[in-house]
């Protein structure tokens, strides 16, 4: 390979653009780098095939056959994991186990207003932590 560091750099940039959902024209790359044109024309269509499923949306990156968790669920798991202990407990009981705020308060020996406060703060944090990547 003539200038492999540059070619690798261009390949990486091309792939990143595909992952962002762009359709970067291969001809533009070969026109800008005539010395590498042959290799660009040979390699970049292969990269496009490898990355094609990434184009269906970065939120849906989990390949269909892989037993992977969804991106949304990892963000949620991570965010719940990061909550302070008492908020985590309340959020889990309320949302994952469907308990009512009143029964949580009773079970934990707390006032309903305290439980409501914990829920509100917990949910606010969850929203903050799960929204930053949701757009991408």
């Amino acid at each position: 390979m003539t200038d492999s560091p540059l070619l690798d750099e261009l390949a990486h940039e091309f792939v990143e653009r595909l992952r962002r959902g762009e359709q970067p024209p291969i001809e533009a790359y070969s026109a800008c780098h005539p010395a590498l044109a042959d290799e660009i024309n040979e390699l970049f269509p292969v990269l496009r095939v490898i990355e094609q499923h990434a184009q269906t949306g970065p939120g849906a990156t989990s390949p269909p056959m892989a037993p992977g968790p969804s991106d949304r669920s990892i963000r949620l798991a991570v965010a719940i994991n990061a909550l302070p202990e008492d908020e985590r407990q309340v959020v889990k009981l309320f949302h994952l186990q469907g308990e009512s705020a009143a029964s949580i308060a009773e079970a934990l020996g707390r006032r309903p207003s305290e439980v409501a406060g914990l829920l509100r703060r917990g949910l606010k944090q969850l929203r903050e932590h799960t929204s930053d990547e949701a757009v991408g």
Partner: protein, 213 residues
């Protein structure tokens, strides 16, 4: 250094000092790649038996426990996190597959101890499961088995490089660090692997064009 980098470094420092909410933000920034890592490296034989979400939770918890030991001098944060994930996956594989795997092939296992032929399976899924234009299921299944056969002929390290760059979405620098070679050498290896994959795909019926969505 841009402001994103400064923000993420600050969050990481706060997390290392024990701030759980910064830790959540740190993990969220790496969630997508961590998710791909688990999807890629969890042994196919465990599909349906254990929940990838549970593995992920275990990884997050283990990383949180080990976080005080992390120093940015030793390695970039994501590679450290990837190492924690690799150890956890190894533990999960031992726990669930344990004695079945004590054979010579063990030497060739990649991150987390998934079976060595898994990189070909992964690459097949990367290329073919997404090719929606492949008209009939039967045709796709035939393509899959042919592609799998061809990929098995490829050098294992070449396949691994492709998995690192495209499945795990590691950067060129991260890939080089994981392989323990210089970035230039890793780049050449990668480009060569793409070239080989290209010639394999071109030999399939319909060639590369037939695989476009």
């Amino acid at each position: 250094m841009n402001s994103d980098v400064v923000t993420s470094e600050r969050l990481l420092e706060q997390a290392i000092r024990g701030d759980r909410s910064s830790w959540g933000a740190v993990l969220a920034a790496h969630a997508s790649r961590l998710n791909r890592l688990v999807a890629a490296r969890l042994d196919r034989r465990l599909q349906g038996r254990i929940d990838a979400d549970d593995v992920l939770q275990e990884i997050c918890l283990e990383a949180w426990r080990s976080l005080p030991n992390y120093t940015s001098q030793s390695q970039p944060f994501y590679l450290w996190l990837r190492g924690v994930a690799g150890n956890k996956l190894l533990e999960v594989h031992r726990r669930h597959l344990g004695t079945q795997k004590r054979d010579a092939r063990r030497e060739q296992q990649g991150l987390g101890g998934a079976s060595p032929d898994s990189t070909s399976v992964l690459l097949v899924s990367l290329i073919l499961d997404s090719a929606t234009s492949a008209s009939a299921v039967a045709r796709r299944e035939e393509l899959k088995s042919r592609l799998h056969e061809s990929l098995e002929q490829m050098d294992a390290l070449d396949r691994e490089v492709l998995v690192l760059r495209h499945f795990e979405q590691l950067t060129p620098a991260e890939t080089a660090a994981v392989l323990g070679i210089k970035e230039k050498a890793a780049g050449m290896r990668y480009l060569r692997a793409v070239k080989r994959l290209g010639s394999i795909l071109n030999q399939l019926p319909g060639g590369l064009e037939a695989l476009r969505p």
